[in-house]
């Protein structure tokens, strides 16, 4: 059984503006396994969003490839060139369709994925039956994210935290191979953010249970965040992308950011005590390795999980 969900192979990306070449990413390599919760951090402008868009498929990289594996034996990986249902996504804003209620927002993925316009038009009875089932599934999913009393509210009638809960439910109901979270809680207050982090950790707990039963973990998450504590607390692995690495050794001009940090992170499930000391220590380490412009050497010591990172 192939456990890899996402593989980023030697991805480099740049933008051209006239004769100027603006390098963003250089030789980025990353492998995400089934059930992992990965926090992706890095300084502003380091290319996190570019990498993110590459994984979604809206902006494929100029060099290298991004592969999504379905998890079957001997499969040919799917190269990401366009968005599809294998990669779920939750944005900081605009994740919900404003014209649909919470329950409809969650059910729309099932409709788009399982039916087509002709099938809905020409088989109305079958569609009605299916629609009922979709709404039941969506209701159950919203109950799971503790929103059963807000099923029929429009996004404009819900708080930011509630909207993000619906957005997560909307994405995971389709069971995508990987769920991408693009600074999902960035616009929320501290208390709501902690609440939603706990919600993600309950999903992680489901992974743990599935592994204990020798089943495939249902959720794999890659979360882009500015909050280091969030990345460490929610992720079981933290990856740092940074422009501050030893590129002057081999290049005359800046070739782009690369992975400079990749280590496991402690996971504290909602009812477990949090080791703040461990979080603070890892935060210091990430800050030094990823955010410090003066620290450009010996990044190898921060990379434990991926054995082929070439230049960091």
């Amino acid at each position: 059984m192939n456990e890899t969900v996402l593989e980023i192979r030697s991805v480099s990306h740049f933008f051209r503006k006239g004769l100027t070449k603006n390098c963003v990413l250089h030789d980025v390599n990353l492998k995400v396994k089934e059930g992992q919760f990965v926090g992706l951090v890095g300084p502003s402008g380091c290319g996190k969003s570019v990498l993110f868009r590459g994984i979604v498929g809206t902006h494929p990289p100029k060099e290298g490839e991004i592969l999504i594996f379905s998890g079957q034996e001997n499969e040919v990986a799917q190269k990401k060139t366009k968005p599809d249902r294998n990669v779920g996504i939750v944005y900081q804003r605009y994740s919900l369709f404003p014209f649909l209620t919470a329950v409809e927002n969650v059910a729309i993925g099932l409709m788009l994925d399982q039916t087509s316009i002709p099938s809905r038009l020409f088989r109305p009875l079958g569609w009605r039956k299916l629609r009922k089932r979709h709404l039941q599934e969506a209701t159950a999913m919203l109950e799971k994210v503790k929103l059963k009393d807000h099923l029929y509210k429009y996004p404009a009638e819900m708080s930011g935290g509630m909207c993000q809960r619906v957005a997560i439910a909307q994405a995971i109901i389709l069971k995508p191979r990987i769920l991408l979270l693009d600074e999902p809680f960035g616009a929320l207050d501290e208390a709501t953010r902690t609440e939603l982090q706990d919600m993600l950790l309950t999903l992680y707990a489901e992974n743990v249970k599935a592994k204990q039963k020798n089943e495939r973990p249902p959720y794999t998450v890659l979360m882009v965040t500015h909050e280091l504590t969030e990345a460490i607390r929610v992720g079981d692995r933290v990856v740092g992308l940074s422009p501050f690495w030893n590129w002057k050794r081999d290049f005359q001009e800046f070739p782009g950011s690369t992975v400079v940090y990749d280590k496991p992170a402690p996971v504290f499930l909602p009812k477990q005590p949090v080791d703040f000391q461990a979080i603070e220590e890892q935060k210091d380490e990430i800050t030094r390795a990823t955010f410090d412009p003066n620290y450009t050497k010996n990044h190898e010591e921060f990379i434990h999980l991926w054995d082929k990172v070439s230049k960091g």
């Binding site: 249902r85 404003p98 014209f99």
Partner: protein, 254 residues
């Protein structure tokens, strides 16, 4: 609202009375009783044609306006959607549409006259050409204003290209379409009345021109009031449609 209308009506009554003190035969600011006589003229059988003005004018102007609105809105939605959703069509049609939107249809009346004759087609044509470019541009801009994240989101949920247009884009911009149509009611009436004023033998514009020449303002004012009422009714109807079909938008706006 009641207060502003009371002030308006009170002001008119005062003006009419003052004017009639100066000239008891004045027809430019008719008194309420003169207006009543004008209304009677409009609704009773005309001894020459054997028809009621209000009925034949409403039927003819209504038909022209309905057809103009129908084809103008239909064309605008189709063109707006196509150029908003498909880059190739955007490149081909957006620039000529922008140019056409600058053409005042009333200035090109002679052109419509030559190309479409003097039948219903001419009036419909002038409304369509007046409405379509502005409405299509408004729809096109509404589509362009949809956040990219929302489009990507739909694609990651498994939407096909057609579903993206049908289930996401149209639903998202539908309230904006209704708003744009509301804004086009006034201009559409202007195009129709201007064309009827210049060329018609029947219709609101024709009747207003004829009666204005005779300074029969007791007939002209009720006709203008009817036009205002019609505009309000259409606006109310579209607002009701928006409240019924786009509850999310109304709640968001509130």
């Amino acid at each position: 609202m009641v207060l502003s209308f009371s002030v308006l009506l009170g002001g008119y009554t005062y003006l009419a009375r003052e004017q009639h003190k100066i000239n008891p035969l004045d027809k430019t600011i008719p008194t309420w009783s003169q207006l009543g006589q004008g209304v009677v003229k409009i609704v009773v059988l005309d001894h020459r044609s054997g028809k009621r003005w209000i009925v034949e004018d409403s039927a003819e102007s209504g038909k022209r306006l309905f057809l103009g609105f129908f084809w103008g809105i239909l064309g605008a939605i189709l063109i707006g959607l196509l150029i908003g959703c498909f880059q190739l069509l955007e490149a081909a049609f957006a620039p000529p549409l922008a140019i056409l939107a600058k053409l005042p249809p009333t200035a090109a009346l002679a052109l419509f006259f030559v190309m479409l004759g003097t039948g219903t087609g001419m009036y419909v044509g002038i409304i369509v050409v007046g409405l379509l470019p502005a409405l299509a541009q408004s729809i096109y801009l509404s589509i362009k204003a949809i956040p990219t994240e929302l489009i990507n989101k739909a694609l990651t949920l498994g939407a096909s290209r057609t579903e993206l247009v049908w289930n996401i884009i149209i639903r998202y911009i539908f309230p904006n379409i209704l708003d744009s149509i509301r804004l086009q009611i006034g201009p559409a009436l202007v195009y129709l009345i201007a064309a009827e004023y210049a060329c018609a033998q029947i219709g609101f514009g024709y009747r207003i021109r004829l009666q204005a020449r005779l300074v029969n303002m007791d007939v002209v004012y009720p006709y203008l009031a009817l036009l205002i009422l019609f505009g309000f009714f259409m606006d109310w109807l579209l607002k009701k449609a928006q409240a019924k079909w786009c509850a999310w938008y109304v709640k968001k706006e509130n």
